[in-house]
């Protein structure tokens, strides 16, 4: 829209002659846009914290041997379905557990560009014993460097040193809750028994506290090589391969592609933790719904004020029309006013939205791993807020402007 200089001059005169109303209109846009920015930054902040927390133990994609499958009809696919088959009490006699040749898959994964990190794991159910206390838990044989790269586990080590796992073959890191249940401290000894009855003695070289109960109360870490030794497995044997991708929202499609080239189960996080994704989506919907509502309310504010302006200036509209200004000029004059209001309100709203976000980001909130309320600053939110704000003011301003353009000058001038 190229605004004619004269029309702009008239629009400007209207705006400045009712400064108070103009200011109120600008403020309503400012409020709408800043709330839009704040709501979205806050919800994204919460989502990021939530997924960040979840991804401290959960990888974006997990590859494992999903066995045994449905073996109730062993003849399926082998025998014509017209032949009656009766199987009683079927038993699987032998199946392969875990992933035997992880090297092959790891090499394969290395060539996928979307992947940002890979770590193999050997997870075993074990009993931890200290004297008479016996606790059921999970022993994770892990690759010390890659595990930390994926999950940042080292930062949760509250006592001892994560890297010591690489140095001591009898070293074990315990979850803080698990250590407490077993009354264990740093450098104490703990006895471990596998399902197959193998027992081994370990030295506690570190305590991990993630604030996630599932980890803290039942997990222990040793180096993956030593875990293989414990259950007498070959090099290359793992139970899980954990994979992180660059954009975790794309985990599903990447998992699908990897699934086509491996015989194992490739499970994206959304499948394993549906509730996490659902919560994220719901929060996004709330943020969008609330912020759009606020913008629409702001739009009604502008609509109202512009309508009032049109009613107030109806005699002047009639004069302008009598002098030869046409419908398009009148629309321009009033639309220019709302667009100016939209732009001014938008700019101030962006600044205010940022300030409110910063302020909220400083409110203490010491729960789980949080220190303050979370905010994620994204340029996208600011651009969207401005664009939505402009669209709202444009629509809200267009209707009164249209009405103004249809004023019949004779009717007004006749009095």
């Amino acid at each position: 829209m190229i605004v004619n200089k004269t029309n702009y001059k008239i629009a400007n005169a209207h705006l400045t002659s009712r400064l108070k109303q103009t200011l109120v209109a600008i403020l309503s846009v400012t409020f709408g846009i800043s709330m839009y920015i704040f709501m979205n930054s806050f919800m994204t902040g919460v989502n990021d914290t939530q997924t960040g927390l979840a991804f401290s133990t959960l990888a974006h994609i997990r590859i494992y041997n999903d066995i045994p499958q449905d073996n109730t009809n062993l003849f399926a696919d082998h025998i014509d379905e017209n032949i009656l088959v009766n199987i009683r009490n079927p038993k699987v006699i032998q199946y392969t557990e875990g992933i035997k040749n992880s090297e092959k898959i790891l090499n394969l994964l290395d060539s996928v560009p979307e992947i940002s990190g890979i770590t193999p794991q050997l997870n075993i159910n074990v009993f931890f014993r200290n004297g008479a206390t016996k606790v059921n838990g999970m022993l994770s044989g892990i690759d010390v460097v890659n595990e930390d790269q994926l999950f940042g586990t080292a930062q949760y080590v509250v006592e001892g040193d994560w890297m010591d796992l690489n140095r001591r073959s009898d070293g074990i890191l315990l979850g803080s809750g698990l250590a407490k249940k077993l009354s264990l401290h740093l450098n104490d000894n703990v006895v471990l028994t596998t399902e197959d009855g193998i027992t081994k003695n370990y030295k506690v070289i570190g305590i991990v506290e993630t604030t996630l109960a599932s980890v803290d109360n039942s997990r222990a870490y040793i180096r993956i090589g030593f875990a293989r030794q414990l259950i007498s497995k070959n090099m290359g044997y793992v139970t899980d391969i954990q994979v992180n991708v660059k954009d975790y929202d794309r985990a599903v499609s990447i998992a699908q592609r990897i699934g086509k080239i491996t015989p194992y189960k490739v499970e994206p996080w959304q499948e394993a933790n549906g509730q996490l994704e659902a919560a994220n989506k719901l929060r996004n919907i709330i943020a969008v719904a609330v912020s759009l509502t606020i913008l629409i309310v702001a739009g009604f504010g502008i609509y109202n004020i512009m309508n009032m302006t049109v009613n107030e200036k109806i005699r002047e509209i009639a004069i302008l029309k009598a002098m030869g200004f046409d419908g398009k000029d009148i629309i321009q004059i009033f639309l220019t006013q709302s667009v100016i209001i939209g732009i001014l309100g938008g700019v101030v709203g962006i600044i205010l939205g940022y300030l409110v976000s910063v302020l909220v980001n400083h409110i203490p909130f010491k729960i789980a791993s949080l220190e303050t309320l979370p905010i994620t600053y994204r340029t996208k939110d600011y651009i969207m807020a401005f664009v939505f704000g402009l669209i709202t003011t444009f629509i809200a301003g267009y209707l009164p402007a249209k009405k103004a353009s249809q004023v019949d000058p004779v009717e007004i001038i006749r009095g």
Binding site: K5, T6, K9, I10, A13, H14, T16, S17, R315, E316, A318, I319, L320, K321, A322, M323, G324, F325, D326, G327, K328, D329, P409, V410, I413, R414, G415
Partner: protein
């Protein structure tokens, strides 16, 4: 009919609210270029109604209106607006100015809209018009701070700015003292004679009417004298 400024044929106008009322009854007349014409008649006889139709602002009538050889009946609103801007200067019965603009800005607006001259030229001729009407010292005052008579003179200055073919005034001197009425009369007379502009002025002032080239008189919506 080369030198006809305006021509009206079989003009009829009705109001439908509150009940159907036949305001203008089968009016036909021609006005030549450069004619200075008075439109008279009792209050309520339909003078303003006729003038709004002549000014192209009111399009709900029967019959036909031709100005400068161009038939305007049935033309689109936007076309009529552009035509008004260039060819018609209008002084309302009640002086209507834009209150947030100065007297000078008010006078300049129709010319700024027309965009035929630079704003410096427009300002110069607007100043000239204000001077003509004895308002040069009021030029920069906001319009709503002027007296009624001053406002009416600003409105006249505004009607002249685009040098329109026809200047229409609905009691353009209604608020003026005899001295200023005389000034306005002389200006109109001069414009008609020197520049060939056509003037149609509604008036209740018998002297004013008597000094015009011609008088149209309405009575109950009928043209009884032309």
């Amino acid at each position: 009919m080369e030198n006809l400024a305006l021509s009206v044929k079989n003009l009829n106008k009705y109001f439908h609210e509150p009940q159907t009322f036949h305001v203008l009854k089968d009016i036909s007349f021609d006005i030549k270029k450069g004619e200075f014409l008075a439109l008279t008649g009792k209050s309520g006889s339909g003078k303003s109604t006729l003038l709004y139709i002549l000014s192209t602002m009111d399009t709900t009538y029967e019959g036909s209106l031709t100005i400068n050889g161009l038939t305007l009946t049935g033309k689109a609103q936007n076309e009529l607006a552009a035509f008004r801007n260039e060819h018609i200067g209008f002084v309302f019965q009640f002086h209507y100015l834009l209150p947030e603009f100065s007297a000078l800005d008010n006078v300049m607006l129709p010319a700024l809209k027309l965009e035929k001259k630079s704003s410096e030229e427009i300002e110069e001729s607007a100043m000239g018009n204000l001077k003509l009407l004895g308002l040069e010292d009021q030029a920069l005052k906001p319009a709503n701070k002027l007296s009624g008579g001053q406002q009416q003179r600003v409105a006249i200055a505004r009607a002249l700015i685009n040098e329109p073919t026809i200047i229409m005034g609905d009691e353009p001197t209604g608020n003026l003292d005899s001295k200023n009425t005389q000034i306005v009369f002389d200006i109109f007379r001069e414009l008609a004679k020197e520049r060939g502009q056509t003037i149609i002025a509604v008036t209740h002032d018998d002297d004013f009417a008597a000094n015009c080239d011609r008088t149209l008189e309405l009575m109950d919506g009928k043209l009884i004298h032309q």
